[in-house]
Subunit: 400 residues, 2 copies
């Protein structure tokens, strides 16, 4: 098999951790696999470099910041290659440029445009383990670019797609994807398998294992993704495009604390009004999540939506600009979004009603509801959040 | 003027030092000059990276070591560019590759083969200060290479030559080139000007301001080199190809403590014997410095030479391999080499004899003598080394 492995900052956080990674890579290689290993900067390095830049400027040039930050991953890649060679495992390290990773768009959050696999393929054919500095590429000017948050995951997925690798393993300090946050519900179970779409929902709902950009790219390139821990030998969670069986399978319960609810009362109910409000919010780069609009009464309606907590003030300011004074804007930070995620729930009656009745039985009022093909999200009072998660986890039999 | 400035590790040793460098660059720019600034890694960084590599392997892959080490200079270059932009001075940082520095030969001590000035020239034409990560280039495979000790000086000189810069300023923590080591003779004077050849002699004799490779390259490319301190505004020493005036000008007295003397007695005096000895030493990578052979008596002769102290044991072992047992090998580490350096001394009688008589007057026995166009070197007992330096400094009127 051709396997792409990616090790995050804590997995390569110390020289001893890099020793452990080298041993794991060697074992994978000795089992008869070809390997490309993508590495992050040692934990703490990127932040230290950013502090350095901050000493000189509160808004440092993004081009320079990219050149600065890219050094962290380069150091890790060279060190791991040295460690592998010492273990008798032929290895070669590549910077983003040498790995053929081309990007477009703006510095500090560039997008991968293409991967020229020539150098990597040649080294693989020579029996070498290829160690790639993650998070970086070069643009058409030959300038170093970085890929933004979760960038090394993205490097790994893109490389796996370009090389048509059999597997892309993302190593972190957690065992995989859980049915819910084990800190809230100790009975939470690790999932062996989950679909891309479910993972996307869970990630956007606060499961911090993987960034959505990486899962989206894996789905697009049809890369079999495994997320697992580099601190033990547990098997992790496979994220793949394969459909679940016929039955409605609820894969997990997620909770997002980082939401605030906004309600606008007595909005004039005519075409274009909602569009005006949400385009104003978009112009101010505010990420609107759930949107609820009821049928209006007397020519006016109430419009509800949620935004990230730290964007609430900006959202309110933007709305004041465009709304007349008699329109009242209410907001509430003391809410959480609880979601039930699972493939096939739409085609199975009773999945949604089980959620509503479960919360009702526990005396939890649902403020807003929104549904999609694979999830039901409910806004509830923050103080009932954890109770809601535990109750739903039990109701959908995820404790079993 | 187009000026290339190079700042060494102590000059960029802290964020505050980089602030000071940025201010100096800005002043130079504001005086109407165009600038290319070559930077080293912040002091301590390269050693820390080498320690990291050492954790994994006692003989790390040189290719990987180069990728590892090159990150240090890249960080400094990005930080300085950020600092300059913040001061309102447009600046752009280039890695060795982006600066167009191509090398050949082995990793960790590559040689610059050519410089493609396209990127640098374009940025200069746009009015930007170009900040280049020193010490590094890329080879024909696109792999990162480093230039070995003093590599950033070499980057600066090569860039100055390729851009036909008016001046190449090498900033360190000393004021320039002195007539002798001020720690030995407090009356030592800073030289305003010295020729390439004199500088080469002084450098090889222990004046640590510049590596010989850089001076040789400056001479070859006809680059006007200035060495000065980044910690004050003193004018430094200009190293140039211009000839000194007609008179015999002694520019300095140097002392090299790091030498050991070897004498081989009763070597058979026939052609090829000396060649055999010195080719054996070369094969063992021992750097032989002074060589003295007297006319022989009775078909045998005595052969004397000096080697660096830390290569003495290796030299003796190599000699035992090829010499017969009745040849005796003597060695002495307790010696120093004291040298008088100056252009035109050969054409002026009395220069050499003044050295010999000065030492004689001070009761210092001369064990070996060797002369060149521009220097007289004498091996004396180590305990008289400093006395010899002070006496010669006075005799040649360098105190004046």
């Amino acid at each position: 098999m051709l396997i792409v492995q990616k090790y995050g900052g804590t997995s390569v956080g110390t020289l001893e951790r890099i020793d452990a990674v080298a041993k794991r890579v060697l074992e994978t290689k000795n089992s008869g696999n070809s390997l490309v290993v993508v590495v992050s900067a040692m934990s703490g390095v990127t932040n230290r470099l950013l502090e350095y830049a901050d000493h000189f400027s509160k808004s440092p040039s993004k081009r320079e910041t990219d050149l600065l930050l890219s050094s962290g991953e380069r150091v890790t890649s060279a060190l791991l290659a040295i460690a592998l060679n010492e273990l008798g495992c032929p290895a070669i390290s590549f910077s983003g440029r040498q790995a053929g990773i081309y990007t477009e768009g703006i510095h500090t959050k560039a997008r991968i445009s293409k991967i020229d696999t020539t150098n990597m393929q040649k080294a693989i054919n020579e029996g070498k383990v290829v160690v790639v500095a993650g998070f970086q590429g070069i643009d058409e000017n030959g300038d170093v670019t970085t890929l933004g948050r979760g960038g090394s995951d993205l490097s790994a997925v893109a490389i796996a797609g370009a090389l048509k690798a059999d597997l892309c393993e993302i190593y972190t300090d957690v065992d995989g994807v859980y049915t819910t946050d084990p800190r809230i519900e100790p009975k939470a179970k690790k999932l062996d398998k989950i679909s891309y779409d479910e993972m996307l929902e869970l990630a956007s709902l606060g499961a911090k294992v993987l960034q959505n950009r990486s899962v989206e790219l894996a789905k697009k390139l049809n890369v079999n993704l495994v997320t697992r821990s580099s601190f033990n030998n547990n098997s992790g969670t496979l994220i793949t495009g394969e459909e679940s069986m016929e039955g409605a399978v609820i894969s997990g319960i997620a909770m997002d604390r980082n939401q605030a609810r906004v309600t606008i009362r007595k909005v004039i109910d005519k075409p274009g009004v909602a569009a005006g409000i949400f385009s104003e919010l978009a112009k101010n780069e505010i990420n609107v999540d759930m949107i609820i609009q009821n049928v209006g009464v007397d020519g006016t309606t109430n419009l509800g939506f949620t935004v990230p907590e730290n964007e609430l003030e900006a959202a309110k300011n933007a709305l004041k600009e465009i709304l007349s004074n008699d329109v009242s804007i209410e907001s509430d930070k003391e809410i959480v979004k609880v979601s039930v995620v699972g493939v096939g729930m739409k085609s199975h009656s009773g999945v949604a009603s089980l959620a509503f009745s479960t919360l009702a039985e526990n005396g939890i009022n649902i403020q807003m509801i929104s549904t999609s093909e694979i999830k039901i999200s409910m806004i509830v009072d923050e103080k009932y959040g954890e109770l809601a998660v535990r109750a739903l986890h039990k109701a959908y039999n995820l404790d079993a």
